[in-house]
Amino acid sequence: MSTGIAPDAPTTVIAPGGDPALGGDIALVHALRRGDEAAFADLVHQLHPSMVRLAQLFVRDRATAEEVVQEAWVGVLQGLDGFEGRSALRTWIFRIVANKARTRGRREARTVPFSAFATEDGDDDGGSADSDRFWGLGTSTVGYWQAPPEPWLDAEGRVLAAEARDVVDAAIAALPERQRAVITLRDVMGWDADEVCNELDITATNQRVLLHRARTAVRHALEDYLHAA
């Protein structure tokens, strides 16, 4: 196995200060500037649904989120010449969406800085998420399962099927705002913990607590759905 780089290896175009993985983004930006419709359509399919989800964290309803995202696409195209490849294209695009959505949400007087209501909406009520499922004090098995989880029959098939999507979607929509924001960014959109902490201006510990409560609630919804069926 060769350990060095072959002298004739193709060189990747990397923006100064950029990441090698961003070479594809630079090529995509060039295609968009050339007016390549297929490239734009691909990008829309890849990012638009996540952009709408992101916008929905800041504005009143889905229709407003769609409007904000449309404005954001205009912003993306107009700003394309200024994209320097210092961050991933998707990160840059999401930043534009978040800024526009936040501005719009503020105009709707809806957006409150996330850290400003840390004790509201049941996010930090303490205690374990599923405490009634364990033996209580005064028993020799305190803290062990009283109502252990039951297997989900054909779990993979059913949990990952289209119908379960609606269950998950509804469970997330019903969460307190901060939990909804964290699970949307982390588990739906696939952001990493640091990105989420930065976007929502919360600590790493707080991020984990919110994520834990949100995931517990979604697991619970899936459990109810699978056992009811």
């Binding site: 419709e37 829309v44 449309q70 107009q78 803290g143 949990v159 990952l160 739906v188 984990r208």
Partner: protein, 99 residues
Amino acid sequence: MQPSIEPQPADVADAHLHGAPQLTCEKLVDAITDYLEGAMAPDDLQRLELHLSFCPPCQLYLDQMKLTIAATGRLRAADVSAEAETVLMALFRAWAADA
């Protein structure tokens, strides 16, 4: 309510292995996100993994949590409505013609 019959799982005794304070199922469930996030202190991680190794219900809970995360990730691949796509493609054409 006081339960009339208490289970005596063999694992309660096993939990005292190595003289470490036992980790209960409830504590494991509470720590499951920290575990999945790789945010546990080495000692706590060891106790959690020891508990998992002898507790099938907790293993099941962990598997279901992973499945929950996978199911949530499925929401990412949503469709773009034909209406939105038409509007966006028109925006793009106008922008490209202008440039």
